[in-house]
């Protein structure tokens, strides 16, 4: 088996094109995340993979098996793909055990249900009905139900959207652990970058019906394909630069680049807030700035700065620091490599 592979996928609602050439690969056993703003088509992508929505072109294959190429479609029930929708969609007329055992042959049902109850930590609740469970418990049952049939691929459509923040974090970690333990291949759809970064082995950023970039969380964070991707994954300072080979000339002086930018041209570099270091004294390559705002965020301080005397810089720069900045003024230096991207507005 070689996981899920999608090439040139197109899909539509009526006459509206939703997916316009999606390329996506998820290796066997990987946890992938499709990240994108609402309306970008990520739910539709999931539903095409699951078999609930027809492709109009392209190819979706799981291992050697063709799932959909716009002409031939494998029915959803024969794909061996598990599905956990947003609010769980438990069968209201069945107990927890009935829900989990729904897809199992009668013979091995009780044994397997017990296994899964243990896996998701719901022992003893098998006799309950969905309306007697909390939101988190319902999602665990939905997960157990999807895992019960040992699907080759598990699809999760914003499964934590309806839960509160603390429970969401807890369940997310638990889900990742459970899936790794089960050795499952999974795709999670979300619009929450934190969820994506903490959950996945690989993240596909989706935008306007196609995948803008697919990479590991680290690569994606530090080496986004463009400014939009950079912003989607977290706060980013986009600084104009004169790119030349492995160097970028910026207001902060000459910075090493993460990758070769080729011949000399104008461009942007991404500087993550952690890369901006503040000092009280002027230094070579340091830019003077006024401190507009300083917020304590638990594990760090977020400091908003207004650069002075540099008309090439954006009016606002963000830095994260371990300590609060006591003064009204600071000098900004840049630490580490800068990542070159295209001007905002250019697709891909």
């Amino acid at each position: 088996m070689s996981g899920l592979s999608i090439t040139g996928l197109h899909a539509a609602h009526g006459r509206t094109e939703i997916l316009t050439g999606v390329e996506l690969d998820v290796a066997d056993g990987a946890l992938a995340c499709v990240l994108g703003p609402s309306g970008c088509g990520k739910s539709t992508l999931l539903r095409v993979i699951a078999g609930f929505h027809p492709a109009t072109g392209g190819r979706v294959a799981l291992g050697e098996r063709l799932l959909d190429d716009g002409r031939q479609r494998l029915p959803a029930e024969r794909r061996r793909i598990g599905y956990v929708p947003q609010d769980g969609a438990l069968f209201p007329h069945l107990t927890v055990a009935g829900n989990i055992g729904f897809g199992l042959p009668r013979g091995r049902r009780s044994e397997r249900v017990a296994e899964l109850l243990a896996l998701v930590g719901l022992d003893g609740l098998q006799g309950r009905h969905p309306h007697q469970l909390s939101g988190g418990q319902q999602q665990r049952v939905a997960l157990a139900r999807a895992l019960a049939t040992e699907p080759e691929l598990l699809l999760l459509d914003e499964p934590f959207a309806a839960l509160d923040a603390a429970l969401r974090t807890e369940l997310r970690a638990e889900l990742a652990a459970t899936l790794r333990r089960a050795g499952a291949t999974a795709i999670l759809v979300t619009h929450d970058q934190e969820e994506a970064l903490s959950f996945a082995d690989t993240i596909a950023v989706m935008r306007a019906g196609r995948i803008a970039q697919q990479a590991s969380p680290q690569d994606l964070y530090h080496a986004p394909a463009d400014a939009k991707v950079a912003r989607l994954l977290g706060e980013a300072n986009l600084v104009p630069a004169q790119l030349d080979g492995s160097k970028a000339d910026t207001a902060f002086g000459s910075l090493p680049l993460t990758s070769d930018a080729g011949g000399a041209r104008r461009g942007l570099v991404v500087l993550r807030p952690r890369q901006l270091r503040l000092t009280a004294e002027p230094a070579p390559g340091a830019v003077r700035a006024l401190v507009r705002q300083s917020q304590f965020r638990g594990h760090e301080h977020r400091i908003e700065l207004q650069p002075q005397g540099q008309d090439t810089l954006p009016t606002s720069l963000i830095a994260y620091a371990d300590e609060p900045w006591p003064a009204d003024e600071a000098f900004i230096r840049v630490h580490g490599q800068a990542h070159p991207v295209d001007e905002p507005g250019n697709p891909n």
Binding site: E77, D87, H131, P151
Partner: protein, 529 residues
């Protein structure tokens, strides 16, 4: 402005809060008043039955024929209820969950049989097919006329229900049929049970159609007592048996819907891609055409035949139009009153899920199992004693219709209330809105489409009612149904046909309203393929 401050411990219903605030419990009082009026025929039947002696009871109920009649009623009710459930659910599934071509058209066509008056339907079958008689004839004709009572609520549930559960089932390896059986069907259990209850209760008390179809049921025995014995006491005694059967059915339905009270209603309302019929498309289309053809085509053909061939057919005179106007006036008034009356009862039971509230609500259904003549005589009995000035005045006939068709209105209002998110009334109260304003600004607007459906259903049924109309109308008042009766009892079918045709034609707008209001908007984007 003191609203939030007056809040009592959480979890108490708004009603309790209102009472604690020193208000009259208006809603329960209204609800019980309505139930008392609607259930008054049960009291009448009880009092009348008590006048019949024990000996007479033994003689009447001890006859071997009674067992046969009970058997006939039970088997007929079982078969028709099962058949309407299968047809109603099947049609709703096809229309709401598959890629059947022309779904909107089918939705209306499948509901239209409601527009055919019962006596027209019975007569048309008998006159066209001499073989449609007896048990199977009765099953056929009643199924054709009653399945929309199941179709509509089930289709409404399917349209509103999120399809995520069905998709999950597919992803778990269950095919379309297994998913239909194990997920979709349970999802509609409440609606299915509610519709089946209306069907089966109606069958208990129906007489006229069965007489035409030469099938005797328990209700036949009751009519014999009224018609040939002029013996209301003995008739009431027998009617008590029907009431007992009705009670059984109501309890059965209550049990079913309580277990299924958590039918998910998707707020997101994502629609599944329709199930592809594939090779089944042609057989399914043939089957639906056959269903609509038998349920609608046969009566329409018979009507057309009599219009063209009956020698007594005359050009519709002015009396047709005055009868139509009268019919319209009564049906519309009855619809408004019945719907208004159903609101407090349904609201009370919805707000307070207590045993008392539920019992009151259920009691209203029992009346539907009574033969029409028993209900009409009950209204005569009470009105002449306690409301003499109203006797044989228009309000009395309206009251008769309301009592007869209250369960139909109640069912529709209940279904609408079930869609209201719990807690909205509390939220509105917490914003400082007074109870009546909450009702007017929040609750009623939310259930308004359901009220439209309730009114349409009552108007539809009331406009074709005959027995109570003859007994309760103001002297000299003519409706389309009474005129139809006048002519058919003189064998002048041609002269009767324009009245029946007009009844059917007038029923079409309420049917359209009914489908629209019951089902709500169709969220599915219609694609041609």
């Amino acid at each position: 402005m003191t609203g939030p401050a007056r809040t009592l411990p959480a979890g108490r219903s708004p009603l309790l809060r209102w009472r604690a605030a020193g208000r009259l419990p208006v809603l329960p009082l209204l609800a019980f008043a309505v139930v008392a009026v609607v259930a008054s025929p049960l009291v009448f039947v009880g009092v009348q039955a008590a006048q019949s002696g024990w000996d007479q009871a033994q003689r009447l109920l001890g006859r071997p024929l009674i067992a046969t009649l009970l058997w006939n009623t039970a088997t007929l009710a079982a078969a028709v209820t099962a058949a309407t459930a299968v047809l109603g659910f099947g049609a709703a599934y096809l229309v709401e969950r598959t890629d059947l071509p022309g779904r909107r058209w089918w939705t209306v066509a499948l509901t239209l049989p409601l527009a055919v008056p019962e006596f027209v339907r019975g007569y048309s079958w008998v006159s066209l097919f001499s073989s449609v008689r007896g048990y199977w004839g009765a099953v056929l004709v009643m199924t054709c006329s009653l399945y929309p009572l199941v179709f509509l609520p089930v289709a409404a549930t399917l349209r509103r229900a999120d399809s995520a559960a069905e998709e999950v089932s597919r992803s778990l390896g269950r095919g379309p049929l297994a998913t239909l059986w194990r997920v979709t069907l349970p999802l509609t259990r409440t609606a299915l049970a509610g519709g089946a209850l209306l069907v089966s209760l109606y069958l208990l008390g129906e007489y006229g159609a069965f007489a035409m179809l030469r099938f005797t049921t328990f209700a036949t025995a009751i009519f014999t007592q009224y018609k040939l014995g002029f013996d209301a006491a003995s008739a009431a005694l027998l009617t008590l048996v029907l009431v007992a059967l009705a009670l059984l059915l109501v309890l059965l339905e209550a049990g079913t819907s309580r277990r299924g009270r958590v039918a998910r209603r998707g707020t997101a309302g994502r629609r599944a891609a329709p199930v592809r019929l594939g090779l089944w498309r042609l057989p399914v289309l043939v089957a639906l055409t056959a269903l609509v053809g038998t349920a609608l085509g046969v009566p329409l053909y018979a009507l057309g035949y009599w219009l063209v061939r009956g020698s007594s057919t005359t050009l519709p005179s002015a009396s047709v139009f005055s009868a139509a106007l009268t019919t319209l006036g009564y049906a519309a008034t009855a619809a408004l009153v019945a719907t208004a009356a159903a609101v407090p009862v349904a609201l009370y039971a919805w707000r307070r899920a207590t045993r008392l509230a539920r019992t009151a609500e259920r009691a209203a259904y029992l009346t539907r199992a009574l033969p029409g003549i028993a209900v009409a005589l009950s209204v005569v009995h009470f009105a002449i004693r306690y409301a003499q000035p109203m006797y044989q005045q228009p309000p009395l006939l309206v009251a008769g219709y309301v009592i007869l068709f209250f369960p139909l209105a109640l069912t529709a209002v209940r279904a609408a209330l079930a869609q209201v998110p719990p807690g909205v009334e509390e939220v509105a109260r917490s914003l400082g809105t007074r109870p009546l304003a909450v009702l007017l600004r929040v609750t009623l607007p939310l259930v308004l489409p359901g009220l439209g459906a309730a009114a349409a259903m009552v108007a539809l049924t009331a406009s074709t009612e005959l027995t109570a109309t003859l007994l309760l109308r103001p002297t000299g008042t003519q409706t389309l149904a009474t005129q139809f009766w006048v002519y058919t009892s003189g064998l002048a079918y041609g002269a009767a046909a324009p009245y029946a045709a007009l009844m059917v034609a007038m029923s079409v707008p309420p049917v359209l309203l009914l489908t629209r209001r019951t089902l709500g908007p169709n969220p599915r984007t219609e694609t041609n393929r």
